[in-house]
């Protein structure tokens, strides 16, 4: 493997992923926190790709199956999918809520798939390391917000548990959707952004960050 000349790996040093201690590569376990040391996250790209594919497969049942089944004495049985929930809020005129759910449940998962794909390409080809590292940080942070819809289902089920004018049941879609969120979160954490910089070093690196060196 090629490393950038100013990287720790190029000087045979490893950073502990949990406490940040820097040790020579020969050391197997961090002397400070006892975590096992790796130059790069082990099998990072393989794990990220595998988890993302798993999430992409689950994405279909998550959107096609109902997340919520409502039976009320007033209306009759109703099923709603994730996207159906957005449409319902929009039709009722609750535009801000419709927008929040649309962003959290529809837009963020799709953007996350695209972002992880871009990151994996970046780790292979080494283009735009700086921008992609920023993208990695955003992706890692934003994934959790997709969980909103699952929590809404849990709360509705909890509130209307005892059965009165209506019964609310969770649907299989909610389970699949929670799976998508967890798998994409795991995919983002198993990705190692340093691979992008390694690939950029191998490629020769864009002039934008070459100029930053040798201060």
């Amino acid at each position: 493997m090629t490393f950038h000349s100013s990287s720790a790996a190029a000087r045979a040093l490893v950073r502990c992923h949990s406490c940040g201690h820097v040790e020579p590569v020969e050391v197997r376990h961090c002397p400070r926190c006892h975590a096992s040391l790796h130059v790069r996250k082990p099998a990072s790209l393989q794990r990220t790709v595998a988890l993302t594919i798993g999430a992409a497969i689950l994405y279909f049942p998550a959107n096609l199956l109902p997340v919520l089944r409502v039976e009320s004495t007033l209306g009759g049985p109703q099923q709603s999918t994730i996207f159906g929930g957005v449409v319902q809020f929009w039709q009722e005129g609750d535009y801000p809520v419709a927008l929040i759910i649309f962003v959290a449940s529809v837009l963020i998962p799709i953007l996350k798939f695209l972002a992880i794909g871009l990151l994996c390409l970046g780790a292979h080809f080494g283009y735009w390391p700086r921008a992609l590292t920023q993208l990695y940080r955003v992706t890692d942070y934003i994934g959790r917000w997709s969980m909103v819809d699952v929590f809404v289902v849990a709360i509705l089920v909890g509130v209307v548990q005892l059965g009165s004018v209506m019964t609310i049941n969770a649907g299989e879609g909610a389970f699949a959707f929670a799976g998508v969120v967890v798998l994409t979160m795991l995919a983002a954490t198993s990705f190692d952004p340093r691979l992008i910089w390694d690939a950029a070093a191998k490629r020769g690196g864009p002039s934008s960050y070459r100029s930053q060196e040798g201060i």
């Binding site: 950038h4 100013s6 990287s7 720790a8 790996a9 000087r11 040093l13 950073r15 992923h17 949990s18 406490c19 940040g20 201690h21 820097v22 400070r32 926190c33 006892h34 975590a35 809020f89 009722e92 929040i100 759910i101 390391p129 700086r130 590292t133 920023q134 940080r137 959790r144 917000w145 969980m147 909103v148 819809d149 699952v150 929590f151 809404v152 849990a154 709360i155 509705l156 089920v157 909890g158 509130v159 209307v160 548990q161 005892l162 009165s164 004018v165 209506m166 909610a174 389970f175 929670a178 954490t189 952004p193 340093r194 992008i196 910089w197 390694d198 960050y209 060196e213 040798g214 201060i215």
Partner: protein, 219 residues
């Protein structure tokens, strides 16, 4: 006042001599540890990652916040969370009701997930933080402090209390037309929990926490 100071990349010879290194978690650039004043933040010049910051009294600040978070956490679990009033009946929902409701409807795994993200992860975070921070006030560390400190990093990621709050607000709007929902004591305690826990986590600089832990006397 926070302001960032950018450190210089040192030459290879300097690095070899220096006893303390610092590697960027996101781009692996190697630096020698610079001298940094209080409330200063060090940013990686190559990829803009936050490397570390100095908050001289972060242990006191974080301990106080975690104690308040623990207090709010207990309140949030003891009192009812939401009260539902319709023409026919009244019912109270407790925080744990979200988990048990899903479990009763035949979704044990989903119930476990919601339980982990909203109850287990914050509880674990509060417990581990207190275990590590309280002895640090006296510059001491308890046995197993290092592996427990590593658990904090893991629990942090799966703590989704703030996302749950957004979920509560959406549910209120969703049910608003069908029944009258009132926010109960536990809801406000939960808001307090979010504020204190997130402030505590933001106050802690992990590089500094590990340094303090290394310097502390084992007891």
């Amino acid at each position: 006042l926070h302001h960032s100071s950018i450190l210089n990349i040192c030459s290879p010879i300097e690095i070899a001599k220096s006893p303390h290194y610092l590697a960027c978690p996101d781009c692996d650039s190697l630096y020698s540890v610079p001298v940094v004043g209080p409330e200063e933040r060090v940013v990686c010049p190559r990829c803009q990652a936050n490397l570390f910051s100095r908050h001289p009294n972060f242990v006191h600040r974080a301990t106080a916040l975690v104690f308040s978070a623990a207090f709010f956490f207990i309140l949030a679990n003891v009192f009812p969370f939401l009260s539902l009033r319709s023409d026919y009946r009244e019912s109270d929902m407790y925080l744990a009701g979200c988990v048990s409701g899903l479990e009763e409807q035949g979704f044990p795994v989903l119930a476990a997930m919601v339980g982990v993200f909203t109850l287990a992860a914050p509880m674990l975070l509060i417990g581990t933080l207190l275990y590590v921070l309280v002895p640090l006030l006296h510059e001491r560390r308890l046995p197993w402090a290092q592996p427990i400190c590593r658990a904090i990093h893991q629990a942090r990621r799966w703590n989704m209390v703030e996302v749950f709050l957004l979920g509560v607000l959406v549910s209120l709007l969703k049910l608003g037309s069908l029944a009258t929902l009132t926010l109960d004591t536990s809801f406000w305690a939960f808001v307090g929990l979010i504020v204190c826990l997130l402030a505590a986590l933001a106050a802690i600089d992990y590089a500094e926490l590990w340094e303090r832990l290394e310097d502390a006397q084992p007891s």
